[in-house]
Every structure is written in C-alpha cells, then in structure tokens.
C-alpha cells in the first residue's frame, strides 16, 4: 500500500473512530504517568519502562487487531496491553507485585501478559518478541485460524539476530505476522542512528522481500489506518507486513534516567507533537467539544487512580505462589 492510499484512508477516518483511539491513548497516558510516579516513589518495584509519548502506536495498532489476534511485545509494553483491552486493575496489581495481579505478582512490568486477550507477554529480552510473534503467526496459519500476530519491537532490536531470522521466517512461510517497529530513535542511552548506517527500519524489509511502510507514529489515525490495512492483508494470506512507526519516548529509558544523550531541541520538538494533542486538535476540528475530550481524560485518570487505590490495599502473593506454575500437569 502506498503512502497516498494511507493518506486517503486517513482523510476518511471518522470522528467516532478517532474518539475511541483518543480514549485508548488517554488511558495509556494516565496509566504511564502514574506508573512513572509510583516507580519514583518506590511503590512499584523492579524495572519499569514507560511508553509516554508513544501512545499512538499502541492505540493505533491495538485497535486494528481483532479478538483472537496475538500480540508479542517488549519491555516497553504497557501501552500495547492496555490497547488490547487488558484489565487495568489486574495490570496495576501486577506492577505492584500483588497476588491478584494478572500474573500473580510473578511477572511484573517486563513480563506482563494476558493470553486470554491474545497478549503473549511483554518480554525482557530485546528481540525475543519477534520469533515468539512469528511462532504465533505460524499457529494461526497452520490451524487455519485467520488470526494476525503482531510483534512489537524497538528500532534497537533490529540489530539483534533474532530480528533478522524471524522476519525471514515470516517471509518464507508467508505468515500473518504484523511486525511493528516503534522507532523512538534511542535504545537505552544510544542514538540508534549511530548503530547502523541505514537507520530506516522499513527500508530493511526489502532485504527480506516483504512489504513495509513508515508512518507518523504520533498520529494515531495514520497508525490505525495503516495497521488496519496491514492486518487485513495478513488475514487474507498475503504474508507479513512491517510497519515502522516513527515516535519518541518522553521519559528516560528507565525512570530516573536524566537523558543527557538527547538534544533538548529534539525532545522539545517531539513533545510538541504530543500524540494526544495531535488527535485532540483534529477531533476539535471535526466539531467534538473540548469538554468531551477532557471528560475522557478524566475518566481515564479516575480508572487508573482506582486501580492504584485497589492495588495498594491488596496483599502480596502467598508464599506458595513462588512454587506454583513451574510445571504443568
């Protein structure tokens, strides 16, 4: 699909659609904002990587998937989970390491998962989402399920052998794999443009003989329309598709990282292209009232706040939990 088609698609997006996308972004924003604070306040243990600034990718792709579709994601996966409808309370409880967390406190931020919703999990090994996601696509194809498997990964993961091998497998096996690169320019402290001579990730698809497209990752409608088209293509059996969503992470790699490696003007410019503001502006232009959008944001905050209140009250896992689920019967 060409950029033109996408642009055309974008124009035809209705306000109702964008409204839902905006709501998803608002939820991710509220969630991540509070998670960042809670982590700083040591209420959440472990490692946390927030996706603030990248909400449009999660919302745009997540909303393009159907029930039964799969998502394999990364260490920066809260947004993808929320966009696939995972329960906010169960997620927050998990980050708090509670027994009622979605993974009973055994997974945490880097491993949060909900297979019932198709979310095979965040993953703390850079690049691992790709073979796993491709494997889920293999299941879908061989079992004739017509499911799409979306594998999220960062541009830093592209330098992993796992990327190379998995993309090729998806290509030669013609799998319904939606390969979604969130190019937020940095991998930890490293400017990824220094880590390869050809920074465009979509360009690399050609070497595997698959199609790809770069999209403005801060424009939720553009992401969503591209993802819808790409997912439809996958479902029709046309093989894998690679999306490169250009975006930016606002916070450090981890909370507390002062990001000395980022030029201020760059950070500022990207902040100005806040995906929620981009969407809000467009929605206002279509006649949606600001109050309606504020209300959505308030609802998101309330929902997140309630999940925090609840998580705080919950007990840690029972000790037996530590010994459970190592093996199945």
């Amino acid at each position: 699909m060409s950029t033109n088609e996408t642009a055309a698609g974008s124009a035809s997006g209705t306000a109702t659609e964008e409204f839902d996308l905006f709501a998803t972004m608002a939820l991710i924003r509220a969630f991540e904002t509070r998670v960042s604070e809670l982590y700083r306040d040591s209420e959440i243990p472990g490692f946390v990587h927030t996706s603030l600034g990248q909400e449009a990718v999660a919302a745009g792709v997540g909303s393009a998937l159907a029930d039964g579709d799969y998502v394999a994601t990364t260490h920066r996966g809260h947004g993808h989970c929320l966009a696939r409808g995972m329960d906010v309370e169960a997620m927050m409880a998990e980050l708090f390491a509670r027994g009622e967390g979605i993974c009973h406190g055994k997974g945490g931020s880097m491993h949060i998962a909900d297979p019932a919703k198709g979310v095979l999990g965040a993953n703390a090994i850079v690049g691992a989402s790709l073979p796993l996601g491709v494997g889920a696509a293999l299941s879908s194809k061989l079992l004739g399920q017509g499911r799409v498997s979306a594998a999220f990964f960062g541009e830093g993961a592209v330098n992993q052998g796992a990327f190379h091998e998995a993309v090729n497998l998806a290509a030669i096996w013609d799998l319904p794999a939606l390969l979604v690169c969130e190019n937020n320019i940095y991998a930890e402290f490293s400017d990824s443009r220094r880590m390869t001579r050809v920074p465009g990730v979509a360009d690399r698809a050609a070497t595997y003989g698959i199609e790809s497209e770069t999209v403005d990752g801060n424009d939720v409608l553009a992401v969503n329309e591209l993802a819808l088209a790409a997912a439809a293509r996958c479902r029709e059996g046309a093989g894998p598709f690679l999306i490169e969503a250009e975006t930016y992470r606002w916070h450090g790699h981890y909370e507390g990282d002062a990001q000395p490696y980022k030029p201020e003007h760059e950070a500022t410019a990207w902040r100005e292209r806040d995906p929620l503001v981009v969407s809000r502006t467009r929605l206002l232009g279509t006649g949606v009232a600001a109050e309606q959008l504020d209300e959505i944001e308030n609802q998101a905050s309330t929902r997140v706040e309630a999940s925090i209140e609840r998580a705080r009250q919950l007990p840690p896992p029972e000790l037996e939990e530590a010994y459970a689920d190592v093996y199945g019967e």
């Binding site: 799969y70 979605i102 297979p115 073979p131």
Partner: protein, 328 residues
Amino acid sequence: MSTASEVKPEARYIDALGEGMALALEEDERVIVLGIDVGAGGGIFRVTKGLHERFGDERVIDAPISEMGYVGAAVGAAMTGLRPIVEIMFMDFVGVCMDPILNQAAKLRYMTAGALEIPVVFRMQTGAGRSAGAQHSQSLEAWFAHVPGLKVVLPATVADARDLMLDAVHDPNPVVFVENRRLYAMRGDAEAERLPLGKARVARPGDDVTVVTWGQMLRECLSAAEESEASLEVIDLRSLAPLDLDTVVESVRRSGRLLIVHEAVQDFGAGAEIAARVGDLLFDELRTPVRRLGAPAVPMPFSPDLERALLPTSKAISSAAEGLKAEG
C-alpha cells in the same frame, strides 16, 4: 509406516524415534516437526525420514539455518496451540539459540502464573565418539537440568526412543529430548515395559554397586556389569528433570555403593547433583564414597584415538565398581 505395536522387536533406535514422531503426528493435528532439513531430506541423520512424505509441507517443515528464529518460533507456536517437535541438529548449537529455551520456554508458564502452556519438544542430537571435533561432540544436559521449568529426557533404549518421544509430545511442558548419535544404529527390544516420563528404570539388578547412568553410557554400564567381578545394579535414569532419586536411593540403600557414569565432562556435570544428594540422604548408609566417571575437563579432540581415551569405557566402569567394592 507401521503403528506402535508393529515395531519389530529388533528395531533400530533411530527408527523408533521416527516412529514416535509419526505416531505423534498421526494422533494429533497440532503436532508439527520443524528443523533444518527435517523435511524431504529426512534429516541429516535420517531420523525424520519419511515423515515429510507422509504428513506434508505443513506438518514437517524445513527451516533455514536460523536456530534462534525457528526455535523461538516453535516456542511461540507452542503457546498458541501447536505442539512442535523442533530439532537442534547438534546439542552444541544451543550456543546460537539458547534464549528461547532458557528465557522463554522454561519461564513463560511461571511468569504468567500458568496462563501460558508451552508444550514443545526440543530434540537435540549429542555425544562424542565420532571424531566430530569439539564443536559437535558436547553433552550439555547438565545445563538444561539446572533450568527450572524444563524437563530433560535422555532415552537410552529403543523402546524409550519411541515411548519417551510420545511422552514428551504429550507433556504440557517444554521437554529437552537428548539423542546420543551413537545410539542411532543400535537395535533392541521395542516392546519393553513402558514407564512414565520421570521414572528411572532398573536396567539390570545387582547387589554390590549401584551404577546410575543415562543415554549412551547405559550400554557401557551394562557391558561393565557383564564383565565385572562385582555385581552391579544398573539404573537408567531416563530423565534428569524430573530426577527419580527414589529409585536410586532404594538401590543404594541395598548396595551401599554408588557409581555415577556419564559421557559429559565430569566437572560440574549432572552426576555431581546425584552424588551430592545421595551423599547427603544416605550419609550413614554408604559403605564407600559416591564415585563419578565422566569425561575429563577438556574439549573433545578430533583424533579418534584421543577421543576414545577420554570417554568412559565398560572397562573403566567395571574397574571403578570393583574398586568401590574393594574399598569397603
């Protein structure tokens, strides 16, 4: 291809492996076989011969030389409804694809509190004795046994080659399935009593020394038992995880002596765990120290003469056992 009951009593180990896979493919549509040249080529050692012809492209799949990718994909497929039997051509190649085994398959059930089930079989061919050199001769089963969440099975008999394969496919957990190449050509009874995965087998009863082993070394131990002046009780462990310590302990209680034999490097090998556990549990009952016999701490040399000199032989086993008997 025949069904289980038709396997000739004197079938070959390699055919029993193929038979096990064929039965698994036959009984469950979700089973697939995946690996380098496992398809029409029938596998570099011919273990998967005939499977592609019989079950087709979608069930018996050739992979490119991308172990990290296809082993990882097998794990992803196992999470989502398939039951892959994935081949790592030589166990040594886990060096390029350990992550999906170590960090994904072994841990994802636990990390998701049981929400993900990962029924995958990692077949890997192993072992020295063929002058294949240091990068194609390693026995690394101790690594896998050290990783919670994995099962590790090592069939040493023709019947087990088939039966443990079926058990591994039926198991809801990731199973590392270790095939010693030198067993491939072995013929034996395909209709031996069937024990569940996780249960050791007393391969030969005896009184003086309990000899615990697995894989290819079972043959050497049985020969040693024939040759030895001491009466050896030979136990084929069949799996390291689960570890059937009860059978070992029961035997050592009677014999008072334990010799552990494996092909892997002795230092920090799986035998150490058994020695440590039995040494603790039967401290007061052991007549002699627990002894181990494994390869010395060197990479496996190419030269067949050197290689032969490094691997435990029936002679070394019987003399170690006799030594133990003489000790106390």
